[in-house]
């Protein structure tokens, strides 16, 4: 068997693939955060809770309405996105003029309330959600066994990240968004309804988190803490990538997934901190992040 750095090569290929798959969740979540931060200047600490809501809505659609995974893929982001829209209209809108810290506190509070409520109702071990029949089973890749569903998640994540990036960087709507980020007053003077644009952007960012939640539901157990467990890492990803940079968030998300995967092989106890070590190093060398513009 071929060995690389004392580990069998197939094992490392396997870790690379798993790392990319875990990284795809970081990418999807940090992309939504980057979009929201870019336009609203809100550090959305409720993002993890929206991810969790996406997973619970997926479970609820099946258990209360009998609608399976394929229905949940469009419906759960729509439902959670609508909730995000309402949240922006009623609460978040009121603090745009205040210091950024208030946004952080407000969204953190919203996250705590949602998490606490779900823990109260569902308990902390959460509920079970099985992958759809079409995607259950295992693929033999030669160097490892890959659950079909994980392969699907990888494909879906690449599609979602790519589409979002194209939408923002290459379309007229995206150009408007970026212009509104730079100078909202000017864009408004051209007849664009900027407040509505902002509401919809927040809703879209939240819907992305919910979509990641749908994809995560069959993978991990659906539980109230699933978002808070991820969110710290995701914030580190956004900081490393450069606050507000969408391409940066995507690339960093996948990259850190891979670094974590290899840490799992070479030094498992370190896999929880490696992301933050990278973050500290990046901030020392490039305080505005890998892909961020210097302030």
């Amino acid at each position: 068997m071929v060995m690389i750095l004392g580990k069998p090569a197939p094992l490392l290929f396997g870790q690379l693939l798993l790392g990319i798959i875990n990284g795809s969740f970081y990418a999807m979540l940090s992309m939504g955060l980057a979009i929201i931060f870019g336009l609203l200047r809100i550090i959305n600490f409720a993002h993890g809770a929206m991810f969790m809501l996406g997973a619970f809505v997926t479970w609820g659609l099946l258990n209360y309405l009998g609608l399976g995974f394929w229905w949940a893929l469009p419906l759960a982001p729509l439902i959670v996105g609508t909730l995000g829209w309402a949240l922006e209209r009623t609460a978040i809108r009121r603090i745009y003029k205040l210091d950024m810290l208030y946004g952080l506190l407000l969204t953190f509070g919203i996250a705590e309330v949602l998490q606490g409520g779900f823990t109260q109702y569902f308990g902390s071990s959460g509920v079970n959600y099985d992958p759809p029949d079409l995607l259950s089973g295992v693929l033999n890749l030669g160097f490892m066994y890959l659950p079909v569903y994980r392969g699907f998640v990888l494909g879906a994540a690449i599609l979602i990240c790519g589409t979002t990036w194209l939408l923002i960087e290459k379309t007229r709507l995206g150009a408007l968004l970026r212009a509104a980020t730079e100078n909202p007053a000017l864009v408004q003077s051209f007849g664009v309804n900027v407040p509505r644009l902002i509401s919809l952007t927040f809703a879209a960012g939240v819907a992305l988190a919910a979509l990641a939640g749908v994809l995560a539901a069959p993978l991990y157990s659906v539980n109230p803490d699933m978002g808070s467990e991820l969110i710290n890492t995701v914030f580190a990803v956004v900081v490393i990538g450069g606050m507000g940079s969408i391409g940066g968030a995507i690339l960093t998300g996948f990259g850190l997934g891979i670094i974590e995967g290899f840490t799992d092989v070479f030094y498992p106890p370190g896999s929880a901190v490696v992301v933050f070590v990278v973050m500290a190093l990046v901030l020392l060398a490039r305080p505005s992040g890998l892909f961020g513009k210097a302030a």
């Binding site: 992958p131 659950p147 995967g261």
Partner: protein, 411 residues
């Protein structure tokens, strides 16, 4: 009487300290006792302990007949969040504010910290849900009783049975803290003593890990016959589910879940959990007495049947109340060590664990049961999940006492 500024400040500080204890009630004078359930109410162990433990302690108060005997017993609860510093400072506040006994305390790291505090304050500590043998070994003290199980019982029962049935080569996935390491080391010793080998071990960060795929793939590529899970609670649930996704059990590797509880099996579902081998010292459907106990306590915890840990809280609390009653309240209030001595002197008897006793070193002696999880078609009642394979008698269930390890053990 004149009040100095210092008196006022002192009172304010005391008021602030008590204000952090919202659940501590104003107490009536007379025969009052306070039982504190210090547990995990929101984290990975909350289904296995938490609110159902509180319900079981309340059941013990009822079954003891506290009201008829003239006692005013209050049960309070606190969340230690799996942090030793939070657990020990809450324990300290409780002891200083009239809590007589601290019960439950999952998480070995927190339990060891609490044991130290309770000894210093001379109150009583009945640990049901932590696993470490150190509570009755090098960290034993005259105020602590370790109730339901420990890592010795788990490693010998589940580990021993797996090796005996042909699972000779092992790969461990270990929660990287006091409990996981101890459970792994003791199971490794059992495996090697029985002629088995250990081909690999990964220690993952606790409690941040939710995706175990990397570790499972490493286990799979090691070619070991048995995957030993030296973890518990939600982590064990995630490992078992993800092992199923990666086709680990289908490819012939068997899983020795060294510590899973009934509540975990419920969360996993029989589809995936079927065939798992595990050990508990209580199961609700074991005999008439366990069923009677379960029927009594279920209205207080309708969605969660008690596991051995929660039943242990019942059994421990009941024996504590009996001991206090036997020695008289003034003597009991004077010293926690005296209560524990009385508890060791009296044999135990309750519906959950039957007859038992408490050893010199604070170890509660009870049998353990090796179970196999039923197939979905074999389960006929709600929460009817186990088939009994083997019973280990109380005397064989725990490590023999060796003088010099626990200071309470005399040669």
């Amino acid at each position: 009487m004149t009040l100095s500024r210092r008196d006022i400040l002192g009172t304010a500080a005391l008021a602030a300290a008590t204000a952090t204890l919202p659940s501590l009630p104003a107490r009536a004078a007379g025969k009052s006792l306070t039982l504190g359930v210090l547990s995990d109410f929101s984290g990975p162990y909350s289904a296995d302990s938490g609110n159902t433990s509180v319900a079981c302690v309340q059941q013990a108060v009822e079954d003891f007949g506290a009201a008829n005997k003239g006692y005013d017993v209050t049960v309070i609860k606190g969340d230690h969040q799996n942090k030793p510093d939070i657990g020990s400072s809450l324990a300290r506040q409780w002891c200083d504010n009239g809590v007589d006994v601290i019960i439950d305390v999952p998480n070995s790291a927190v339990a060891l910290a609490v044991a130290g505090v309770v000894a210093e304050k001379d109150k009583v500590f009945i640990d049901s849900t932590a696993a470490t043998t150190n509570l009755t070994g090098k960290n034993c003290n005259a105020q602590t009783i370790h109730w339901t199980y420990d890592t010795y019982m788990l490693s010998h029962s589940t580990g021993g049975a797996t090796v005996a049935s042909g699972g000779k080569s092992w790969f461990f996935i270990t929660a990287n803290y006091a409990f996981g390491q101890l459970l792994r080391d003791q199971t490794m010793a059992v495996v090697k003593a029985a002629g088995g080998t250990v081909v690999g071990d990964v220690d993952y960060p606790f409690p941040q890990t939710t995706d175990f795929s990397s570790f499972l793939v490493q286990a799979q590529s090691s070619g070991a016959q048995v995957l030993g899970l030296a973890n518990a609670g939600k982590d064990a649930v995630n490992c078992i589910k993800q092992a199923h996704q990666f086709g680990i059990t289908q490819s012939g590797m068997s899983i020795a879940a060294l510590l899973v509880f009934l509540n975990d099996i419920h969360g996993i579902g029989l589809d995936i959990a079927q065939g798992l081998i595990l050990t508990e010292s209580f199961y609700w459907n074991l005999n008439d007495r366990t069923r009677a106990f379960t029927q009594r306590v279920l209205p207080k915890t309708p969605n969660n049947y008690p596991s051995m840990c929660q039943a242990g809280c019942y059994s421990g609390a009941l024996h504590f109340l009996k001991a206090v009653d036997a020695m008289g309240l003034p003597a009991a209030k004077a010293s926690g060590a005296a209560i524990v001595a009385q508890m060791k002197k009296m044999p135990t008897d309750d519906d959950a664990f039957g007859q038992g006793s408490i050893r010199e070193d604070g170890r509660f002696m009870c049998p353990s049961y090796l179970f196999r999880v039923k197939k979905p078609g074999e389960s006929t009642l709600p929460w009817d999940y186990y088939d009994l394979l083997h019973t280990t008698p109380a005397a064989m269930n725990f490590a023999p006492m060796t003088p010099g390890v626990c200071k309470l053990v005399t040669a």
